[in-house]
């Protein structure tokens, strides 16, 4: 018993040492300025006084962009220094979530592929034609195998030669025709 409590203590210490500032509705207000998100953060100083840190503009960065799209969002300033970390969206109210989500969707613009119309390979490149929620897409992959990333069993990210990203949310949901085309590369 004693050992267990001791172990708990060391675990708690580890997270204390890390000093991660989690942002949530209790300490942070998210607002929109000129169409860009900003944040007002309440800080408690060591002597107990409270100050407000104001950021006219914040940048959001997914810590796990392939696994967790709405959790562990790093909030950064212009110089890419972390201001704080959002553990999950539910820590904020609806209005703030709306702002955050829209910003993330802008930065991580990723059309969802619904159908692969054609996939041809020549000269070491593969040429794709696909339908997506952003309409008809045409793009080129250099080294097809290396630019497809399977996440879990069902999800596939596609990276084209310009650094654009596309996602196939579910392989199972694809029609047979599309599946057969992409299957060779998985």
């Amino acid at each position: 018993m004693n050992e267990a409590s001791q172990e708990k203590e060391t675990v708690r210490k580890l997270s204390d040492v890390a000093e991660i500032r989690y942002l949530h509705r209790g300490n942070t207000e998210i607002f929109l300025k000129n169409g860009f998100p900003g944040a007002r953060i309440l800080c408690r100083q060591e002597d107990g006084t409270k100050t407000v840190e104001e950021h006219n503009r914040i940048w959001l960065h997914r810590a796990f962009p392939f696994d967790l799209l709405e959790e562990y969002i790093s909030v950064q300033n212009k110089d890419q220094e972390e201001i704080g970390l959002i553990r999950e969206m539910a820590d904020f109210d609806e209005a703030a979530q709306e702002i955050l989500r829209s910003e993330l969707e802008h930065k991580y613009y990723t059309p969802r592929i619904t159908r692969i119309v054609s996939l041809k390979e020549a000269h070491g490149y593969s040429f794709w034609q696909a339908e997506s929620d952003a309409g008809e897409l045409q793009f080129t992959l250099q080294d097809t195998f290396r630019n497809l990333l399977r996440v879990g069993e069902d999800k596939v990210f596609v990276f084209d030669n310009y650094g654009n990203r596309y996602v196939i949310e579910s392989l199972k949901a694809l029609d047979r025709h599309s599946l057969r085309r992409i299957e060779l590369y998985l």
Binding site: N34, K107, H123
Partner: protein, 719 residues
Amino acid sequence: MDNCITRIPFNLDPDNEMISGQVEFFADGLRIIASGKEKWIPMEGVREFRCDVGVGSVALEVCRENGDHLICRGTMDYLAVFSAASKRMNRFLDGAVPTEEWKQYKKAVCPKCHRPYLPDSEICPRCTKKGGYLRRLWKMAKSSRGYIYLSVLIFIAVAALNLVLPYLNRVLVDDYIKADQLPEAGQYVLAVLMILLVTFAVRLLGIARSFVQVRAGTELIVVLRQTLFQKIEALSLSKVSQRTAGELMNRVTQDSNQLQDFFTSDVGGLIEQMLTLFSLGVVLFVYDWRLALMVLLPAPLVMLSHRLMWRYLGPRYRKQWWRGNRLYETLYDIFSGIRVVKAFGMEKKEMDRYDAVNLRETDVRIQNETYFAVISPITNFLMGVGEFFLLYYVGNQILDGTMTLGAMQQFSAYVAMIYGPLRWLSFMPRRLARTMTSLVRVFDVLDEQEDVADREDAVDQNIVGNIELDNVSFGYEDAKDVLRKVNLQIKPGEMIGIVGRSGAGKSTLINLVMRMYDPDDGAIRIDGTDLRDIAQQSLRSQIGAVLQETFLFAGTLLQNICYSKPDASYDEVVTAAKLAGVHSFAVKLPDGYNTLVGERGHTLSGGERQRVAIARALLHNPKILILDEATASLDTETEKDIQDALQKLIAGRTTIAIAHRLSTLRNASRLVVLDHGRVAEVGTHEELLAREGLYYELVMAQRQMSKMPGELETTEQLA
């Protein structure tokens, strides 16, 4: 209308919808045109244009005192366009005069097939003209053309002889073996001898052919590699560093090999097979057109089935190759990390990981072997179908007595021969595709613009050591300007220390002075002459550099010191080595200055390598000396020794030095503090400390760092 500074397209609206819009930049504002609407953003109060690079999209923004405003957004294909626009507009804000060139931007998509170009090029991987490239390669093959013509001649001869052989066989059978009366022994022997002679001639020509082919190919590859190598060396650092060393190696070796193969075996092969096919066709038709048709009818079918088979199997084999690759990578990964695996007791887990990859590879292998085992006999059978028809038809004719046994033999030989070229030709598209890839890649390098080329009237100049940076702005290919409006005057013999946080533009400034790149705006002058007017050879022969990464070429210590001056005397070498502190350790090595160093040789410590680099620079005896973090990777004591050596080198030369450790620059006559690409402060150590600006902050931060734990209290008391 055309007072427009620059004009760019974009393709995303604020709701993430794909649209097609355009932004026009004027001196007094920007006009954004999208979905039939126009929006005007006035230029008033604009401090900066920023290209904000996201992960799947990119945005162009203006920064004002009261915050940022979005101009437009686009997918990543627009990165180059947006970054060019933001750089140009920032330069415009700094007072640069817009040029005609600013109005243009690199197009992102091929106008023909509307697919994106390869990044940073205007090459469409789909539509590149293939004929043009082949013609250029042919031009390059000037020296080996004689051999190529010769090999074509040999191919023709071989094809002709191959046709004669079955005819001789027929004569042998019909006129002598199956003849009604016994032939004369002499004639019979003569016929056999003829066959022997022809066979021998074919073999002999075969040897000649391979000889000629090898010569032709080797000549071509030598020319090709030379041209490629010269081109790569002539390109500026920025163009070269866009590609990895491995990739460049690949282009010089692999791609040119591929082209050599094509020229030596494929072109010859193509000619041979076409000739054989054509002449056989003619012979067959002349002999009996019905027979010929019967043989040739299945031919298209055969070619088609062959192509279909490879279209189906090709990607599957590539998948197998890829999985095999993965297997190898996994194995390599596990073995090289074996200490970690054992330290965390993860043997079981790694075994499972390996098993999984192994199984995946085996799966696809079994599948492929099965496919192949089923498909290939079928195509082979199809190929033979024509022969069955033939057998039936010819058999009937022989029974009727309209055809002789020898004729049948000749005919079957021709039929067997005609399928060879057909099969070969069905592989041709694949080979051609592979060659084209190499060809495009080779010419991609050869067509690269030399952006830091010598002017025709470039002069050799004896440098005194005056350096002047006049309003210099520069940015690499990506979004931001690294240096903005840098002004600096350096007098001969001065030592300038360049200080600043990482990313402030210190190394870039040095690269510009060495003319690894040309400034986008403004000018750098040495003794009043623009750098671009001085021949590079002349310039570099008078600049010496000691860099953080000291590269030792494979060779002896002596060769490495002499690198900058191959004709140096032993006396000079020993003097330079002594001054740099190389001598003291060189004479302890069993092989002295002849010790092999570099990749495979004796491993020198960081400090020793650094000393070799200094000796190299000393021997070079440069007018201008550049030290880029020359002592950063050394421990304090070694650094002190090297500093002393450097001090001897610096005396009397114009020196520009970069160092993170500020104490290294204590001897500098002036310090230049860079901040975000601009000159923030200039002055001596004392002046800058007194100013309590950026330099003061940097010094204080370093003092904090280097404090010993015990010292803390005393210094705090002092503060």
